[in-house]
Symmetry: D5
Subunit: 114 residues, 10 copies
């Protein structure tokens, strides 16, 4: 991927506060069947010096629309890429997938700055 997510300076860098962005329109493609997958993708983070710019975050998610990738991979990939870009104190990605074969799945991955 070549994410170009923009950031802006945290307006209150000394305070540990929580930002949550919820995208119920996330969609990617199953790498085995080629059929689309649908998820609610949630980003929760405590910013350090940078905040994620909302519009570019939307375009970042749009890049997955026709990309084949597994649930576990995508959740960890998004966490890694967003952490690399905005260097937060903490970040959690939660992907909640719609029913496939009578089952539904949720993947939750968390990063804490050491």
């Amino acid at each position: 991927m070549n994410p170009e997510i923009e950031t802006f300076p945290n307006p209150k860098p000394g305070r540990k506060y929580l930002i949550t962005h919820i995208n119920p329109e996330f969609t990617s493609v199953c790498p085995i069947t080629g059929l689309p997958d649908f998820a609610t993708m949630t980003v929760k983070y405590i910013p350090d010096q940078l905040c994620l710019e909302l519009k570019s975050l939307k375009y970042y998610f749009l890049q997955f629309r026709n990309k084949g990738i597994f649930y576990e991979d995508i959740t960890n990939l998004i966490l890694d890429e967003l952490v690399a870009i905005c260097k937060p104190l903490e970040m959690e990605i939660i992907s909640e997938w719609s029913f496939r074969g009578g089952m539904r799945s949720i993947i939750e991955a968390k990063y804490i700055k050491e």
Copy 2:
């Protein structure tokens, strides 16, 4: 801003109890597009000597109706201003924003008196 929020003496200053005010009719303006934003704005605090007067709190929130300001800024600004006025033992501001571009956001900032 020039907030004129009134306070009244805490009727039970020795007890640490929790007051929550929930305003589902908060609206401000996006500083980039000029379009209105809508949020449920929640104030939770443990009073020390002063309590927030409810009617003046409503008028304080009304001042943002035509003001251009970002989600992260507004949440921290309200926390700073309300803390300055009523000097609580603890206070938390939670702003839950409606959908924009298929996504919705929540900002949660907390103050604890040292």
Copy 3:
């Protein structure tokens, strides 16, 4: 107020167990406007030697129907009066008020026996 709440002996005084009474029909009067206020009033407590008798508790709440009193006052007053009567190990009063001026409020006060 002149509350005459009855009590009965705790049937299991050696066990720390939790009793909750929920009254969604609480109403009092705003001391400024004279207009009625409505709340769900919840009493949670761990009894020591005495339990609150339910019917007299209902009549106690009825005394506030035409009384002018503020949210923060009433919640702390009920906690003080009920603690004085049944001397619990712990007690919490939660008052959840209906919308006034586009906002709604919740007050939560707790007592723990030392």
Copy 4:
């Protein structure tokens, strides 16, 4: 008002089908108190030759943000103006207002072409 709502040709003019647009972010101002009112504003119509363009409809609704007008007036006014612009076979406006003074109101007005 000076509404400049755009229209586009109905893509299936021979079929009587129903279009519904729901705006939960409508806000205007009470002409007596000067305080804001909030509503979910719904437009339902069966087009004849013209359809309402969605983005200009949004800007039309935004014009009411700082305008003082009563519930009954605004609902009938919007119906009159939208009927004049897109000349539908049928149109209904439903405005569902949030709580004021412990009460909430709904106004429903309908037009049928003769």
Copy 5:
């Protein structure tokens, strides 16, 4: 009763449209036990020449707060009094009462101008 409900001229007298006012904070007193009753009281009407003014309608409902009256009586009484005042084309009163003795009741009465 001595209701002094104000009216204002219907802004669109030629159109048959529906106005609904919903009051979830209605309370009266049971004439037998003297205990309070609680209801959601709904007024739906198609105005002719006059509309009900909302604030005076609220004060009209407040008159029942300490009045002893039965469910069936009160619903028909309110219908009669509101019809007499605003002379609508149609009006319906729906009172939905909270639980008493493990049961809850709904009374619905309608007037149609002949």
Copy 6:
């Protein structure tokens, strides 16, 4: 059964209005297994000269608590007995039963005066 349901004169006999009483605590006994059945029992009627008195209706329902009777029988029996007592213009009994053997049942019977 020996129902002694009281009635009182309809306060508005000339108007066809609807009265609904909902009892979510109805219980009887299965005549085959001897195990209890549970239902929400609803009475809807348009009174003629008489209304059902609510407290005696509650005691009438209590008589079924330890009585063995089938779903279809009980619903028709209650309709017959209540019609005989208050001679309404119309009456409907709806019994909604809880799960038995993985299934739940609803019986709806209606009477219209000829």
Copy 7:
């Protein structure tokens, strides 16, 4: 199939009343994939001389547990078989199926005695 559904005499044969049985635990097998299907199966009918016995109806539904059959077939088959057994005045079968391939289906078939 060899359904052996029992019936019993309608206790109120002169009255047209509605009986509904709801089975949220219906399961059969897809004839193509061999994988199980799940549905809420609802039977609504107005009895003539006979009523469906509930326990035998449950066992009738159990016969489909390992049977391969399509949604449209099964719904019409159950309607035909139940009509043949209890000869109702009217009967409707509604099968609401769980998600398969991101879609869910509902089949509704009705019989009216001529």
Copy 8:
């Protein structure tokens, strides 16, 4: 479009029954902005001689994933194409779109065989 939706013979052609397929994972592209749109797409029909095969219907809907088309167009187009393929007695298409610009839309189009 080049839809290749398969059909199968209606198993009960003499009976007018209703089939509903609900797809909450429909997505297409806005022809102006190039951004994705999301909808719940519902097909309701009374079959004549042919039924829609479910898997091919899913693939038909997938063809719109990267296609730019307006709400009103797509709903009427799907109705036209599905009617042409399975020649039903009646068919209705309901598309319920997610929020765009603070508003959401529903389009409902119906065909009845003459």
Copy 9:
């Protein structure tokens, strides 16, 4: 009471796992008024060597159907009796009662093996 609740050997005695049984059809009698009370009765426990057999637990609860006993007594009594029978590592009884006099109550009692 003379409870004859059966037990069976815990199939996994070395693992601390949680078993919950929820009975929304619990009913007893108020010892003062003689009127029935209704509750959802929940048993949560971590078994040691024995598990509660579900069918005999149901019959145990049925014994309270016509017994007069207070909320606080019954909850503690059930906890004492079930602990005596299956000797769990931990057990909690939660009784949630329906509305009486406009209020509802919840009693929660817990046992932890020392």
Copy 10:
């Protein structure tokens, strides 16, 4: 049982993240009555080196469709078998069963790697 659940390498083995699979279509058979049981079966785990492959997990659950086994047994058995196969850092199985005899049960068992 002879489960043949496939696994794949954890794509992010150094991070402790949570995977949840929810199957609301689980069904087995009561070993006493021979009647089917229904549950929502949830698997939550923190993977170490291996992840559970979703499709084979589905087929694993299908093996219980006609197998007679008790609630407590099945929950512990699934936990043991899945732990043996994918050797997670932590795993929890939650089975939530539908109503039987007016009661419903939940079994929750957890494994933590030592």
